[in-house]
């Protein structure tokens, strides 16, 4: 009767008692001794040019341990390509916005401070001026020959094309069909909104050159591989741990450059970022 053990039975989830009694352990619940908190300065416009960025006041604000801008981090980026995409000159190798911002929420600077309150205080002290430009809002606009180029260094808005393929007799099938319906189906940009915001804790051990990362991911190996490429170190030097995750909907894969941004500062210490709802928008 082994089949009867599960088939046709209501099988209680083993994690439920923990989650129902407040004993779940999500990223913001993970405590690592000596951790600093990170907060971000993000773009408030969809596209624009950074004409002024002065973080000096933030650097000397109470409790601030470090402030990073593109000038600090971008030269250190090794590789930001994502496994599974064909070779192409995309994405550009940058960590923080440099010269241009390309979406609302595009990170411009990171403040690492004694706690999140002080980190967010210091973010407000960063003097940034962005000259807004018209955003390129959809695929058709991006493919228009007269479109502005989103990443000027690429020279094009279509740096890579994934080949289309289908049944070879598709045209014949349409030709023989009794009716042909033509329609254009428009999808919104897919942005997930799980209950738990994004978060990451990174602990750099300087003596062994090893990085331990707690990430609100559903793909620990994806995060590990991406960070190894980004930082230019072996995967054997990176350990990624996944706590309970508060909803996914597709966004808990390797969070690409985002993970990287949050992993640079810890090369000197332990940094955590239990992201806010603003961090989830992007």
């Amino acid at each position: 009767m082994t089949a009867g053990r599960f088939m046709g039975q209501a099988v209680a989830r083993t994690e439920d008692p923990r989650l129902l009694t407040g004993r779940g352990r999500y990223i913001a619940d993970v405590v690592v001794g000596g951790a600093s908190d990170a907060a971000f300065l993000r773009s408030e416009v969809a596209r624009g040019r950074i004409v002024r960025l002065d973080a000096e006041a933030a650097r000397s604000a109470p409790g601030v341990r470090a402030v990073y801008t593109a000038a600090d981090l971008n030269p250190l980026v090794h590789d930001t390509s994502v496994a599974g995409l064909p070779d192409a000159p995309y994405p550009p190798k940058y960590c923080l916005a440099e010269n241009d911002v390309r979406y609302v929420g595009d990170p411009i600077a990171i403040v690492v401070a004694e706690n999140r309150y002080l980190a967010e205080d210091a973010v407000e002290l960063i003097d940034v001026e962005i000259e807004p430009q018209d955003p390129v809002l959809d695929v058709d606009a991006a493919r228009d020959a007269n479109s502005d180029v989103v990443h000027p260094e690429l020279g094009t808005n279509t740096p890579q094309v994934i080949p289309q393929f289908g049944p070879p007799d598709l045209e014949q099938a349409f030709a023989n069909a009794a009716h042909v319906v033509r329609d254009t189906i428009v999808m919104h940009r897919y942005v997930q909104a799980p209950m738990e915001c994004r978060g990451i804790i990174a602990d750099w051990e300087p003596h062994s050159d090893e990085l331990t990362v707690w990430s609100s991911t559903q793909s620990v190996h994806g995060v590990q591989a991406f960070l190894a490429g980004l930082l230019g170190i072996g995967t054997n030097k990176i350990r990624v741990l996944q706590p309970d995750v508060g909803g996914g909907f597709g966004r808990r894969r390797c969070s690409r450059a985002t993970s990287g941004r949050w992993c640079w500062p810890p090369r000197c210490s332990v940094v955590r970022c239990a992201g806010s709802r603003t961090d989830v928008k992007t």
Partner: protein, 161 residues
């Protein structure tokens, strides 16, 4: 930053601390008292994940400063749970009705439902929906949650669920 002395009874235990005036009740509970069952989803009073009881009333701990709870009794999800393990009838009903998935919103729902059932022990579906309208769930959907609250109410009243 100005610091203020605070004495509050949390889950039956009297605690005294000195906190910054701007420290939220949620951060105080989570970071100062390590009661991490109270979750932060939106931090501006929309999602209800941070719901706790203040003198028995369900409140959003992200919208209150810790110092506002001075002298009050605060109950969190930990305080509504059996310390020795096992589930309360309300929690057991959530499990039976598949009223949770990722579990992030769950403590807020359980706390809200607890306060609601204390005031309204024999609710209609409509009353349950209204009472829980301040809590957001993203993965499970609300049908199971409503069924769980109904089942818990029925159990409390001695009828079969």
């Amino acid at each position: 930053m100005r610091e203020i002395a605070l004495t509050v009874t949390v889950n039956g235990e009297r605690v005294s601390r000195t906190v910054e005036a701007r420290r939220t009740l949620a951060d105080f509970l989570r970071d100062d008292l390590s009661l991490t069952g109270t979750h932060l989803g939106c931090e501006h009073g929309v999602c209800g994940a941070c719901t706790v009881l203040l003198n028995g009333d369900a409140v959003r701990s992200c919208l209150m400063f810790a110092v506002q709870a001075d002298g009050a009794e605060v109950t969190t999800i930990e305080g509504l749970s059996e310390r020795a393990g096992g589930l309360t009838p309300l929690q057991a009903a959530f499990q039976s009705e598949h009223a949770l998935q990722c579990g992030y919103c769950t403590p807020g729902f359980v706390v809200s439902a607890h306060a609601f059932l204390a005031e309204c022990p024999t609710p209609s579906d409509e009353e349950i929906r209204d009472a829980l309208s301040g809590n957001l769930c993203r993965c499970t959907g609300y049908q199971g949650i409503i069924a769980a609250v109904k089942r818990a109410a029925s159990a409390d009243n001695g009828s079969s669920s």
